[in-house]
């Protein structure tokens, strides 16, 4: 069982800089004119490059480019890679064909969600697991009894998310011909100007978009190649920060572990953890597939009425319900809280993800939010109705059409 020999070279740069630079850092620094930095998995990442609105609309109306390098990436290989992954996650990975990507979650023994991410079935039979949070310890711990190698490759792969209605056209203009053939969740490969590229039609925006992966040594070449299209005046392409990403992911109804629910590993209080059912992710749980960690607990939980659920809410009025409590009627009993919310510029409404208590396993008939807001430093309160949205707030048909339309 040599799976526990962790061989991670600690970069000496960690001791010189608090935040680690990305391979795209010189370009990011150049574009980041407001200098609004934050840490994403220890990397120096821009929240905003120039203005939040222009970045948001780049993603929704033209083309936004975001550095994906800080996302945790793990290479999973070896004879038992498939059975290992299938025991790890709640979805049936045997159905994942080569050169395809799927969205997954994984649970602890008690069936509570540890994190979410994507599994890439790579060209040579290896898999890549991308996750929101650091997961190496859990991945190694789960490898007991499997002939599998798990390598953290976060630092070894540079990636850019290119998202928005013109992303396909812009990338094709940059020389990534044939990407219009990729269906959602497909993976393609090409060599361009000596750069080995992997392109997946994936993203976190709910819109048309691609993720382009390459070696860190060629990171700047890739950036320059994409932005050369903008320089030719053909498409508006803008670097986008995590602020804009947070807006579009809420619109798309994507949850963020750690923001919308406590991950099982970090929760201290026993009732703060959440199962896939409680997160509205029952569609990701396959109780018919072979055993996976948490299955027994999930079978038991599935028999009981739901106690609480993370729901999508459309909130009336023009005040974002930041951190608001939710009630079963105006001035009634408290039944939940808002987790993430945003004023959606494109939908012209407030949308939110909220944790709601279910009474006797059913959705509350009415949901009201009590919203506190300031007007020129004076606090006010207002009551607004909230309505559960069964579908993602934003799901444009262009995101799934192949080949994508030209804009």
């Amino acid at each position: 069982m040599s799976a526990f020999d962790v061989n991670e070279n600690v970069s000496p740069i960690n001791f010189k800089e608090v935040l680690q630079p990305s391979p795209f850092q010189s370009r990011i620094d150049e574009y980041g004119i407001v200098q609004e930095w934050m840490s994403w998995n220890g990397y120096k990442t821009a929240r905003v490059f120039d203005t939040l609105a222009s970045e948001y609309f780049a993603i929704r109306s033209t083309c936004g480019v975001m550095d994906l390098t800080p996302m945790e990436k793990y290479r999973i290989s070896g004879p038992d890679a498939l059975t290992y992954l299938n025991r790890l996650v709640t979805r049936d990975i045997t159905l994942l064909k080569p050169n395809r990507v799927t969205y997954v979650i994984w649970c602890n023994d008690e069936g509570k969600v540890l994190d979410d991410g994507t599994v890439f079935h790579l060209q040579n039979g290896d898999y890549r697991l991308c996750s929101q949070h650091h997961q190496l310890d859990w991945l190694l711990l789960s490898s007991l009894g499997f002939d599998v190698t798990i390598e953290k490759e976060t630092h070894d792969v540079a990636a850019l998310a290119v998202q928005g209605p013109t992303s396909c056209a812009a990338l094709m203009e940059a020389g990534l011909v044939d990407i219009d053939r990729l269906k959602p969740f497909d993976i393609g490969y090409m060599t361009l100007n000596g750069m080995e590229l992997m392109i997946s039609r994936t993203g976190f925006t709910g819109d048309l978009g691609y993720e382009v992966w390459t070696h860190p040594d060629r990171a700047l070449d890739l950036w320059d190649l994409i932005f050369s299209v903008k320089e030719q005046g053909l498409f508006d392409i803008r670097p986008t920060g995590l602020g804009a990403l947070d807006m579009v992911r809420i619109e798309a109804g994507f949850i963020m572990p750690g923001d919308d629910f406590n991950t099982a590993e970090t929760a201290v209080r026993a009732d703060r953890v959440r199962s896939p059912y409680e997160l509205g992710l029952a569609w990701l749980v396959d109780l018919e597939k072979p055993y996976f960690t948490g299955k027994q607990a999930l079978i038991a939980e599935n028999r009981e009425p739901a106690k609480q659920r993370l729901v999508r809410l459309v909130v009336e009025g023009n005040k974002p319900p930041t951190d608001a409590f939710l009630y079963d009627q105006k001035g009634g009993s408290r039944i939940g809280t808002i987790k993430s919310c945003v004023w959606s510029p494109i939908l012209k409404t407030n949308v939110a993800l909220a944790d709601i208590e279910f009474q006797k396993g059913s959705v509350p008939i009415e949901i009201w939010a009590e919203i506190y807001y300031q007007k020129e430093l004076e606090w006010r309160a207002t009551w607004v109705r909230c309505n559960i949205s069964k579908k993602p707030f934003w799901a444009h048909p262009r995101s799934s059409i192949t080949p994508p339309q030209k804009f």
Partner: protein, 519 residues
């Protein structure tokens, strides 16, 4: 009557035999699959050096449970020697001391120590007896308790408070979790006496007298004393297994030997039988494993059928053995200085003082064996001349501490270890080495291989507090159950642990019968 359903037992150690007999007596169709050529496991006799027969692993019986004997009609009185078995602690200055159930004698033992020993043994046996409700029952869950769990806890509370009385209970709660070293220093003056008692507290464990928890292991040993006096069974421990085997067969248990189980089959979280090395599939409604928890869950069931963290808990069970077993065939009775030939029918120990024991243990912490091993020596041929050719003798030794994961491996160090044991005994019995005809050494690695116990630990896991009661073998698999429905554990890996007691087998059978899995 319920329709017989088949139970398959993986392994026919003494607990497996006892569990099977209980189940068969309740009208179920039970089959034992034993990998070795005979049943009995650690309670077997073996032949070595041609004509010598000796207990293969366990060689002293202390506390085969009286309820089990009564329930199953086991009569072991014929194996008993007429004299009670004492312990003689050897001293280099020949001032050996003799420990009985409640008395201790020796030139160096003061009157005060003699009285203190009597008081100490009575007091501590009282504690051991107070734990009875816990020993003979499924250990109660602390979460989601059912009525039986609450009843067991209430009985335990009652037994501690009213069985012992307020003063003794307070004392029990004070010493329960600490080490034997501190306790013995409080009650005795004689270093020889302290050494001898501390020996019993650490025997079979990876623990020294100063290791916390050694009062608990001592109480577990005394629990055996509460059942019956300890004895060296005539004809070896295999005789006990023969009696158990006969009881099992009489109850209708089918026994197959020489068949090794390769896999426990699991379908939809439920075990439905086993696959043998030969490829044969044996179907069963429930599977009961006498094997240790690691072997059962990680090898036979396999990690892919279990939750990840649970597998890691099982993998982290401390179950590396620290005791070697040695057998010597002798052409002459060793002449122990200061002992008469009659004295040699008793249990001889080399644990002259607590420091000696602690220092021997220290080496094992770092993957070494001490140059001064701690020994438990018996010469079974004195009470039972049939086990060896005329005039010849056998010496059976449990030698501590012999770490499973010896630095540099055992293959290069076997000879050196054997020599250390021989030289140590020679100090007490100078003619010993010259009388050796042949010898046989079982390191924990050999025990692992020959007896199919991962780690080669006597008790299938340290008897430490964190691996006891409702946490034995691990939480999530206590109460003889496993996460796999219809798969039970019945061996020493379960509560209350190892030793030839029969209690895990008894408790597992009760648990299975009350589970409803057999209809």
């Amino acid at each position: 009557m319920t329709k017989p359903v088949s139970v398959v037992l993986v392994g026919g150690g003494h607990n497996g035999l006892i569990c099977a007999t209980y189940l068969a007596k309740s009208g179920f169709d039970v089959q034992i699959l034993e990998a070795r050529e005979s049943v009995g496991g650690g309670a077997s006799s073996i032949k070595f050096g041609g004509d010598y027969t000796v207990s293969g692993l366990a060689h002293i019986l202390y506390g085969l449970n009286t309820k089990v004997c009564k329930d199953l009609g086991l009569d072991i009185s014929a194996l008993k020697s007429s004299e009670p078995l004492n312990t003689i602690s050897l001293q280099l200055d020949e001032n050996h001391i003799t420990l009985g159930l409640e008395s201790v004698s020796g030139k160096t033992i003061s009157l005060k120590d003699q009285q203190a020993y009597r008081t100490f043994k009575r007091e501590f046996r009282g504690y051991a007896e107070a734990l009875e409700p816990l020993m003979m029952n499924t250990p109660p869950r602390l979460k989601d308790m059912d009525r039986k769990d609450k009843f067991t806890l209430a009985k335990l509370g009652w037994s501690l408070r009213f069985g012992l009385g307020a003063k003794s209970m307070r004392e029990f709660l004070r010493v329960g979790g600490i080490n034997i070293y501190d306790v013995l220093n409080e009650v005795f003056d004689s270093s020889a006496l302290k050494g001898a008692v501390s020996f019993d507290a650490v025997l079979g464990q990876h623990m020294g007298p100063r290791t916390p928890n050694t009062v608990l292991t001592y109480l577990q040993r005394l629990w055996g004393e509460c059942q019956d006096a300890q004895m060296i069974p005539k004809g070896g421990m295999g005789k006990i297994s023969e009696i158990l085997e006969k009881a099992a067969i009489d109850a209708g248990v089918k026994i197959r030997t020489g068949v090794k189980v390769k896999k426990i089959c699991v379908a939809d979280g439920h075990s439905d039988g086993v696959v043998l090395e030969s490829g044969e599939h044996v179907e069963a409604s429930i599977v009961v494993s006498n094997a240790d928890a690691k072997t059962t869950l990680l090898d036979l069931v396999g990690a892919p059928q279990l939750d990840a963290m649970f597998c890691n808990r099982v993998n982290s069970i401390r179950q590396n053995g620290d005791v070697a077993k040695l057998h010597f065939a002798l052409n002459d009775l060793p002449n122990f200085k200061g002992l008469s030939p009659q004295d040699l029918q008793h249990r001889l120990i080399v644990a002259p003082d607590m420091r000696y024991v602690e220092h021997a243990f220290n080496h094992s912490k770092y993957g070494e064996f001490s140059q001064h091993p701690v020994l438990e020596i018996i010469i079974p041929t004195i009470g039972d001349s049939a086990s060896a050719p005329e005039g010849h003798h056998i010496m059976s030794i449990s030698a501590s501490f012999a770490p499973y994961d010896l630095k540099g491996g055992w293959s290069d160090s076997r000879r050196a270890f054997l020599n250390r044991v021989i030289e140590t005994i020679d100090q007490y019995a100078p003619n010993f080495s010259s009388s050796i005809v042949t010898s046989d050494l079982l390191t924990p690695l050999d025990i692992e291989e020959q007896y199919n116990i991962a780690g080669g630990h006597w008790h299938h896991g340290e008897l430490s507090i964190d691996q006891s009661f409702m946490m034995r073998p691990v939480h999530g698999s206590a109460q003889y159950q496993t996460p796999i429905k219809g798969l039970y554990l019945c061996g020493a890996a379960t509560h209350p642990g190892g030793g030839i007691t029969g209690m895990p087998g008894h408790n597992a059978a009760q648990r299975i019968l009350s589970s409803g899995d057999l209809g």
